[in-house]
């Protein structure tokens, strides 16, 4: 018995929509199995993990707070992957965004009017964009594989931040902890209600704007052509190099923005750890959203739920919150598997392949 793929004449519109849901269902089943293996009632486990956080206002707020960076980064990555540009260094761009955005509050802790927030946000986005431009440039100038270079830069950025907060930027009154001065007043993002801050609005705006760009404009068309048929893109007069740079600058800027938003809200200062791997989880967000900006919005909420569920599971079930990353990995696996159904029909073939079926 073996699996046979049969190419469909056209993409299946049903599975194009159903595949993320199917992937989610399969992830829940796998999650249930993990709970069973850990001696936890699977239904209870799944309830605590995926449902309970949605029943309380504070945890729904938390959900949105965590979804904001995931969506911001994920929507940028979705555009990249659509263009077949493999930026996987968003975590590094996030870090550099946080550092660049953090320059003003660290250097001028007494600067206290709305202008500093604007400066922080702009410099954060620019920091991420410029850091993203490095693998972009290396790709377009030297043809260096952007997957590897962008990833290497994640480690470099993390070490740079580590040096800053342990060295020149360390708060002298910080009891020797590796942290900068705590941001305050206008150095923090205003909230929209509860703990939800301006970052959520940015995320929403980014999705809507990119949905428009991808669906209605020539630039969006250019991105899609370059990604799915580069030769045809060149024939159309589109420049692949321009697209690579555009994608890296855009996704870098969004990741940088997410970075400065995190340190100007949830974290409130610079420290060695500023993100629980949002830059990597956003890769999953992009795929779960089927590289569609509006899909990314929902995918970001789901991935945020996986973080919050992990925390809830740790508290309620006494299981490590590291399970969140396991769920995220499994989810990406199932998404990629289910996407096969869009282009192929899957058949189970019994017996020996190639045996002649008897003629009647």
């Amino acid at each position: 018995m073996r699996l046979i793929l049969e190419k469909r004449a056209d993409r299946s519109p049903f599975f194009a929509i159903a595949s993320p849901f199917l992937a989610l269902l399969l992830t829940l089943i796998a999650g249930g199995l993990i709970f069973v293996m850990r001696g936890i009632n699977p239904l209870e486990g799944l309830y605590v993990y995926f449902v309970e956080p949605l029943t309380q206002l504070w945890s729904v707020e938390q959900l949105i707070v965590k979804a904001a960076p995931l969506v911001l980064i994920g929507v940028g990555l979705a555009v990249c992957y659509m263009a077949n540009v493999w930026n996987i260094g968003a975590e590094g761009q996030l870090t550099m965004g946080a550092i660049a955005g953090g320059i003003s509050p660290v250097m001028f802790p007494d600067w206290q009017d709305p202008s500093i927030l604007v400066v922080m946000l702009i410099m954060g986005a620019m920091g991420g964009a410029l850091y993203g431009a490095i693998p972009g440039l290396l790709k377009t100038r030297f043809n260096a594989n952007e997957i590897l270079t962008s990833l290497m830069l994640v480690y470099v950025a993390a070490l740079f931040l580590d040096w800053l907060v342990r060295g020149p930027w360390r708060d002298p009154q910080g009891f020797n902890f590796p942290v900068t001065k705590t941001f305050a007043g206008w150095q923090l993002l205003p909230t929209l209600g509860g703990t939800i801050h301006l970052g959520a609005l940015f995320a929403l705006l980014a999705c809507v704007a990119l949905a428009f760009v991808m669906g209605k404009t020539l630039v969006g068309f250019e991105i899609k052509v370059t990604g799915s048929a580069p030769r045809a893109g060149r024939f159309a007069g589109f420049s692949r190099n321009r697209m690579v740079m555009l994608c890296f600058l855009l996704s870098g800027a969004l990741a940088g923005l997410a970075g400065i938003c995190e340190v100007a809200s949830v974290v409130g200062k610079l420290q060695p750890q500023i993100s629980p791997g949002y830059g990597f989880a956003a890769i999953i967000v992009a795929f779960l959203g089927r590289l569609n900006p509006l899909g990314v919005l929902f995918a970001g909420l789901l991935l945020a739920l996986s973080y919050i569920g992990g925390e809830a599971a740790q508290v309620t079930l006494g299981i490590s919150d590291k399970i969140a990353k396991v769920f995220q990995g499994i989810l990406l696996f199932f998404i990629l598997s289910c996407d096969t159904l869009i282009l192929y029909r899957i058949k189970l073939e019994m017996g020996r392949v190639g045996a002649l079926k008897a003629a009647e």
């Binding site: 049969e6 056209d10 068309f221 799915s228 024939f235």
Partner: protein
């Protein structure tokens, strides 16, 4: 059981792909020592049938008999064990490997490249197929590559040799040599199954012909007793539209010219263009003949602007320089281009036809993308116009490009450009892999465009097509272009000599063969 008079019998073979019946009850019988033609249009099911005989595909139903015995051929290894060898149309070679490594991959038994090299040298002398066993395939010409394929089969001393469109990639002289080899083989008792749609060569070479149409056998006959016209009627199932052309005007102004156009090779597997000169007048069709891989795609890229030249004055459209500009600028100047590869170059496979209109038309038609916003209504109306004008057939409205048949997509891709009434049109392989009906439509449209005053350049490897279309013919070999001669002064032999490089000013690869 008595020995059968047939070496191979395929009886009532059916092969279904999805909803398509590629072979629908096909029966084929080959006797020992026979050169048996399998004739049919593109898409008639010839390749599908031989792939089943070679074990690459499995029939949905039907029987294959070898020397009178029922056999199942589960894979090509089994076919080779029976004594069936096959030369593929798109070669099954490995470019990064050497000749002897390529041959070794098809040989059973002990792995010893030294010994095999000696054997290769022996066989290549025996059959007049010169090859250097240590050469890397990527460095070889198309003709040499085909020699590897043939030699690889012959070294297993097959009883049946299948060749899929073998002359499509050869010069006429090389084809003659191939025929000598095949006749020699047949005289030694080896059967040959010869797939082609070239009627003249089938009449010259083959003892028997089985003709397929839409997956069914429509006739079985001795091609030497038929005329080319009667064979063609059987193949196409009706009269062939011959292209009608008024004489080209002699006094048209030069609309398109190449002046000492040169282009460096782009990486190790690419051909450099050297000092190419060409002038095309309004009203005429110029064909550029040549064997595959001699710089045609590089020439197309240079002309279209996908790879701009360093010298802007090397290309002129209506007297204006454009050698250094990109493809969009050249389209704005009134040029249009159709590349060889439909899917992935001329069209985005997963995009609907309407979006594929935007692909090439956005640059000269501002209304398609005003202030950067796509106008889908406009794109749809252009797509509809092209579909109607060129009879593009499809299963549903605005389908993805990849779901169209080769002929229909080609009509769309050519029609998309013709719809603009370009001043200059450059087409690479306009009817490659296209059925006769679509080919006739496309060729007629190209001639009509020229006669309306435009300059048309057709790059083609198909000599029949070239003679049907061209007012003048130039030949490209190893990146150099010959002078363009009036078509009525050219013969297949003359073109063949030019293809082999008789016009070349320098022969950097002379050491090869």
């Amino acid at each position: 059981m008595t020995a059968s008079q047939y070496l191979l019998e395929a009886i009532d073979i059916v092969k279904v792909f999805g909803t398509l019946r590629a072979n629908d009850g096909v029966t084929l019988q080959v006797t020992p020592g026979q050169i048996h033609a399998l004739l049919g249009e593109n898409g008639a099911g010839k390749s599908t049938l031989v792939k089943m005989i070679y074990g690459s595909l499995q029939p949905t139903s039907g029987t294959i008999k070898w020397k009178g015995q029922d056999v199942v051929i589960p894979n090509p290894n089994a076919a080779r064990k029976l004594g069936i060898g096959m030369v593929f149309q798109h070669f099954s070679l490995f470019e990064a490997l050497t000749v002897v490594e390529n041959i070794s991959l098809a040989m059973p038994g002990k792995f010893d490249l030294e010994a095999l090299s000696k054997k290769v040298e022996f066989y290549s002398g025996e059959y007049g197929l010169p090859l250097n066993p240590k050469a890397t395939v990527a460095d070889l010409s198309v003709g040499e590559r085909q020699r590897i394929e043939i030699l690889r089969c012959l070294m297993q001393e097959p009883k049946l040799l299948i060749l899929d469109e073998p002359t499509a990639v050869l010069t006429p002289q090389e084809a003659d040599l191939l025929f000598l080899t095949l006749r020699l083989l047949a005289s030694e008792g080896c059967s040959v199954l010869y797939i082609s749609h070239r009627l003249e060569e089938v009449k010259r070479l083959c003892h028997w012909a089985t003709i397929l149409r839409h997956g069914k056998v429509v006739a079985s006959c001795d091609p030497r007793e038929e005329t080319a016209a009667s064979l063609a009627r059987l193949m196409v199932g009706g009269d062939i539209h011959t292209v009608r052309a008024a004489k080209a005007p002699r006094d048209g102004a030069v609309r398109f010219s190449l002046k000492n156009a040169s282009l460096e090779a782009d990486g190790p597997f690419s051909v450099a263009l050297k000092n190419i000169n060409l002038e095309v007048r309004g009203g005429e069709v110029i064909a550029i003949a040549g064997v595959a891989g001699n710089g045609q795609s590089e020439l197309f890229d240079a002309i279209s602007g996908e790879r701009p030249l360093s010298n802007g004055n090397a290309i002129l459209i209506d007297g204006a320089s454009c050698g250094a500009t990109g493809v969009s600028a050249r389209r704005k100047m009134g040029a249009a281009f159709v590349p060889e590869e439909r899917l992935g170059h001329g069209a985005v496979p997963v995009f609907p036809l309407s979006e594929n209109v935007v692909l090439t038309r956005h640059s000269d038609d501002a209304s398609l993308a005003e202030r950067g916003l796509l106008n889908r209504g406009k794109a749809n109306s252009i797509a509809d116009r092209v579909i109607k004008a060129y009879d593009v057939r499809m299963g549903k409205p605005d389908p993805e490009a990849r779901s169209l048949s080769g002929g229909n997509l080609q009509k769309f891709v050519v029609g998309r450009e013709l719809d603009r009434h370009p001043k200059v049109l450059v087409v690479n392989q306009p009817t490659w892999g296209v059925d006769a009906g679509a080919a006739a439509t496309i060729r007629q449209a190209l001639i009509d465009l020229a006669r309306s005053g435009s300059a048309v350049v057709v790059i083609s490897q198909d000599l029949d097509e070239i003679f049907e279309l061209a007012d003048r013919i130039a030949v490209i070999s190893r990146g150099q272009l010959s002078e363009a001669h009036p078509a009525h002064e050219m013969t297949a032999e003359k073109i063949g000599l030019l293809m082999a490089g008789s016009h070349e000013k320098e022969t950097p690869h002379a050491a090869h063969s």
